[in-house]
């Protein structure tokens, strides 16, 4: 596998401008001759459809739900970063670049991240112009807040619904193009395979989720905007439809999969209440601005929190990380919580939680002020747990939330397959080993609105396209393989449901490859996952219905998750260092903190599919830090 990241020449500030100047363009009259397939309608998919539609390309967009507006970007709460420096508190493009690289534990590509920081300002301008009602100051200008441990206030927000507002903004821009006829939307479709012809991605096979028919669509480029794979853990904050299938299909067709072990565990989620739990709910980490995290000092202390006196409480984040206190980055906060729970100091009925206490903040600022800031989160907590967070401390627990890993892409967002692009969370490019709060929305929109609209034309203008048709061997073969996979699933008629398999997979992944990983646990997982896979293909039950069949949809997703999990664990095993969200018990400092190993692991792991039953091949993209010197990430 050849990994050419195609980083443009020049100093870091000029790379993007140089790229854009040197990129080839497509004549406006020729653009409508190009069919662009976009899979996924989240921030990156919707914004890519909008920007490419505006330029005049012929866009086809595919999405699983009934409406493109339901993509999971909608659930992001906190905000979106930009280096506007409206607060004049020392922010700059360079600082956002620095924070993102450092926050990612020096495992991201400098040029991509710098471009992201540059574009961040344009995103805010564009979103405001498209009618996103960001929070404002009394003077009428945009408000900012600090977020996720940043030392500047650079986060723009729309109450606790920033993701929703940004997505609806991008969705509306896409609908404008749909009205103009440049974008055609195909809802209730799930992509099941990609078709490569003459070395180029030329089409996709989708299942119409209502009729059950397999449909073939042809195009000159395929953009995967299919999000992350946190649902591999079964319980995560992701929506039920989030899956790895599209990315996995791409991987099997030759796209390198980068850093699959880089997963983010979000510290402030509502703990699970029992076996029935279907998903976990995240509460914005802005709660940590005012809430104090603690556990009892004594092990197994089952007293009511109000009965535990102040001196028997351990405000462990403030104790261990005095400089950042409760505002340490997500990976640090999550692991600290896990340590407390492993020590037997967890709270609540399951012992799998820590307290997030607002008593001090309420005493200082008054309940009204807290209500004003976080009212919707307290309501949500109350609805789920039946507990009043104003009166008794909330219980929180970390949960899988975001995945930094994804399809490997070059500077143009193209995967190792020509004409196959990956945008947003589906690619690996910008967050390294850990993502900072409020950066996912920034990346999704940067990729969709501003990057792809500049890089895709360069590909289209340079590539030579042969004509393709649905009856070409490659298409026929792809359809047949998908169809036989579905037939196989329907024919097994076993005794376990896809959800049961998914839950079992989740247990393996969470216990053995979750917040902390060791050689032993990972090797154990590598033994258990193939067993689960074998059992799945012998014993899964799917009702015999080839039309609208949600169990079949689920089975297809779980089948891919099981295969993918194997790769994730393998990557985690190979990366014998701790960095960002990836914590190897063998690689720690004396105090038990994560220890990065720049000498041996300053690279992107890019996994190459070698065929069914064969071990995947590890390729490496060395990371060069020409502007920032990797330092130890310390928040103490």
């Amino acid at each position: 596998m050849k990994l050419d990241s195609k980083i443009p020449s020049g100093n870091i500030q000029q790379k993007w401008d140089n790229y854009k100047f040197n990129a080839k363009l497509v004549n406006p009259n020729n653009r409508k001759k190009f069919d662009i397939i976009i899979v996924g309608s989240g921030l990156s998919g919707a914004s890519a459809a909008a920007s490419l539609g505006e330029q005049g390309y012929n866009v086809k967009l595919f999405t699983i739900p009934d409406s493109p507006r339901r993509a999971h970007s909608i659930a992001a709460q906190g905000g979106i970063n930009a280096a506007k420096n409206y607060k004049y508190d020392g922010d700059s493009v360079y600082r956002l670049f620095y924070d993102t690289i450092k926050g990612g534990d020096y495992r991201a590509r400098e040029a991509n991240v710098y471009r992201l920081a540059q574009i961040s300002n344009q995103i805010i301008d564009h979103c405001v112009a498209t009618g996103v009602p960001f929070a404002r100051e009394y003077g009428g200008l945009l408000a900012n807040r600090s977020f996720g441990g940043a030392q500047v206030s650079r986060t723009f927000y729309a109450r606790g619904q920033t993701g929703q507002q940004l997505l609806l903004g991008a969705y509306s821009q896409m609908m404008r193009q749909a009205a103009a006829g440049t974008v055609k939307i195909f809802p209730r479709r799930e992509m099941l395979d990609i078709v490569i012809k003459d070395g180029k991605a030329r089409g996709i096979i989708v299942r119409n989720l209502v009729t059950g028919e397999l449909e073939t669509y042809l195009g000159h480029a395929v953009l995967l905007c299919t999000g992350g794979y946190a649902n591999v853990f079964y319980l995560s904050t992701n929506a039920a439809n989030c899956n790895v299938s599209a990315a996995w299909a791409a991987y099997k067709k030759g796209a390198g999969f980068a850093n699959p072990c880089f997963t983010q565990i979000h510290p402030t989620c509502i703990p699970r209440s029992g076996e029935h739990q279907s998903k976990l709910t995240l509460m914005s980490e802005s709660l940590r601005n005012d809430g104090r995290v603690w556990v009892p000092k004594k092990k197994g202390d089952s007293r009511n929190p109000s009965e535990i006196p102040e001196d028997e409480r351990d405000y462990y984040l403030e104790r261990i990380y005095p400089a950042f206190g409760n505002l340490v980055p997500r990976d640090i906060a999550s692991r600290a919580a896990k340590r407390m729970i492993d020590e037997g100091r967890g709270v609540g009925p399951t012992g799998q939680a820590v307290y997030l206490d607002f008593a001090d903040a309420i005493a200082k600022q008054g309940e009204d002020k807290i209500k004003e800031k976080y009212g919707n989160l307290f309501d949500m907590y109350y609805r789920i747990t039946d507990e009043n967070g104003y009166k008794t401390p909330m219980r929180i627990y970390p949960a899988p939330h975001y995945t930094m890993g994804g399809l490997w892409v070059d500077y143009e967002l193209m995967t190792t397959v020509e004409g196959l692009f990956a945008l947003g969370e589906a690619n690996f490019s910008d967050h390294g080993a850990n993502r900072l709060g409020a950066s996912a929305l920034m990346q999704g929109l940067a990729d969709g609105y501003f990057v792809i609209s500049a890089t895709l034309p360069n590909y289209l203008a340079n590539a030579k396209f042969n004509s393709v048709s649905e009856s070409d061997d490659e298409f026929v073969h792809a359809r047949e393989s998908v169809s036989s996979k579905i037939k196989k699933l329907l024919s097994i008629k076993g005794s376990k449901t896809p959800t049961e398999f998914h839950r079992e997979l989740g247990n393996i992944m969470w216990d053995l490859c979750g917040m902390s990983r060791s050689e032993e646990s990972l090797k154990k997982a590598l033994k258990e996952i193939p067993k689960l896979k074998e059992e799945f293909w012998q014993n899964v039950y799917v009702p015999q219905n080839e039309k609208f069949n949600q169990t079949l949809e689920k089975a297809l997703k779980v089948a891919d998750f099981i295969e993918f999990a194997q790769l994730l664990v393998k990557d985690a095993l190979e990366r014998r260092e701790s960095c960002g969200g990836h914590f190897r018990e063998e690689s720690t400092t004396k105090e038990g903190e994560a220890k990065r190993d720049d000498e041996n692991f300053s690279f992107v792991s890019v996994w190459e599919y070698a065929g069914e039953g064969k071990e995947p091949i590890l390729n490496k993209e060395e990371l060069k830090f020409e502007n920032l010197k990797p330092t130890v990430r310390s928040y103490k």
Binding site: S47, E54, P65, D66, S67, R69, R70, A71, H72, I74, A75, K84, Q122, I124, D125, H126, C127, V128, A129, T130, G131, P133, A135, R136, E137, G140, L141, L142, A158, Q164, Q165, S172, Q173, M175, R176, A179, P187, A239, A240, S273, G274, H276, Q277, S278, K279, T281, L282, M380, R383, I384, D386, Y449, F450, T497, T499, Y541, P543, F548, Q550, T551
Partner: protein, 254 residues
């Protein structure tokens, strides 16, 4: 800490794909606790049905935190269930008690054709947005975000209307299957923002026309929509739309 469990009887609307009508099927389910969400209760039932080799109930949900707008059921006649201003996915079984009989129906409205059981097709709402629920601005052409100040109260009001999740509860609750609250919310949001001003006349005319042609009904000001909206969008959205409509018809040259 062992919690007491309880059991309920469900009457669920079952409708085969392609069929014009359906029937109510009775299911019994035990071993519930108050911590289980309503949709998780349906998950448990569906798992049980699968185990028995029966076809599960088709029901949709996605984010399960009340923001994607995917879920939507009528539970004992309550759109989105008995909790006020929330979605079905946020409803928990602690709202019910032992031996309750719960009737579950899909959202019913003429422009929302059924697909299967509790799953319906709400794509008509996308068509309304397509008719003008946007601001025409090309990527990369926007001025600095702070070049136009917007009064805080006005921005907040726009946000109130923008909070719509497109679940269709307003349509399902309306005796006339009207989409006035949905359409009004988008029109109100965009007309409150200076960025939306240049297109305000053509927008309201086109969106109302689309809404009418898609088979959504008239407004009879019964305010059922406002009563069920999970995002508490107020009927002032409809008044605002009406105002915009009058202005566009009489004062503009559109």
């Amino acid at each position: 800490m062992e919690k007491k469990t309880f059991g309920i009887t469900l009457r669920v609307w079952k409708q085969e794909q392609g069929e014009q009508t359906g029937h109510f099927e009775i299911y019994k389910i035990d071993g519930l606790t108050g911590d289980i969400s309503f949709l998780e209760m349906l998950d448990i039932l569906n798992e049980k049905l699968l185990k028995e080799g029966r076809e599960p109930i088709a029901v949709e949900s996605d984010c399960r935190e009340g923001i994607c707008g995917c879920c939507g059921l009528v539970i004992n006649g309550d759109v989105h269930g008995p909790d006020e201003h929330s979605t079905v996915c946020q409803l928990h079984m602690r709202r019910f008690k032992d031996k309750d009989v719960i009737t579950i129906e899909p959202f019913r409205a003429a422009p929302f054709p059924p697909i299967k059981d509790l799953v319906i097709d709400r794509s008509a709402m996308d068509s309304i947005i397509k008719a003008g629920g946007y601001i025409s601005v090309n990527t990369g052409s926007a001025p600095d975000a702070n070049s136009i100040p917007i009064e805080k109260a006005q921005a907040e009001k726009a946000m109130d209307f923008a909070a719509c999740i497109g679940c269709g509860a307003c349509v399902a609750a309306c005796p006339n299957s009207a989409a006035m609250l949905f359409t009004g919310a988008k029109i109100a949001q965009l007309s409150l923002l200076p960025q939306g001003n240049p297109e305000r006349n053509i927008r309201v005319l086109n969106m109302v026309k689309a809404m009418d042609s898609l088979g959504f009904g008239n407004c009879s000001n019964e305010y059922e929509c406002e009563a069920v909206c999970p995002k508490e969008i107020r009927i002032s959205a409809i008044a605002k739309m009406n105002r915009e409509f009058i202005k566009a018809n009489f004062a503009s040259e559109q």
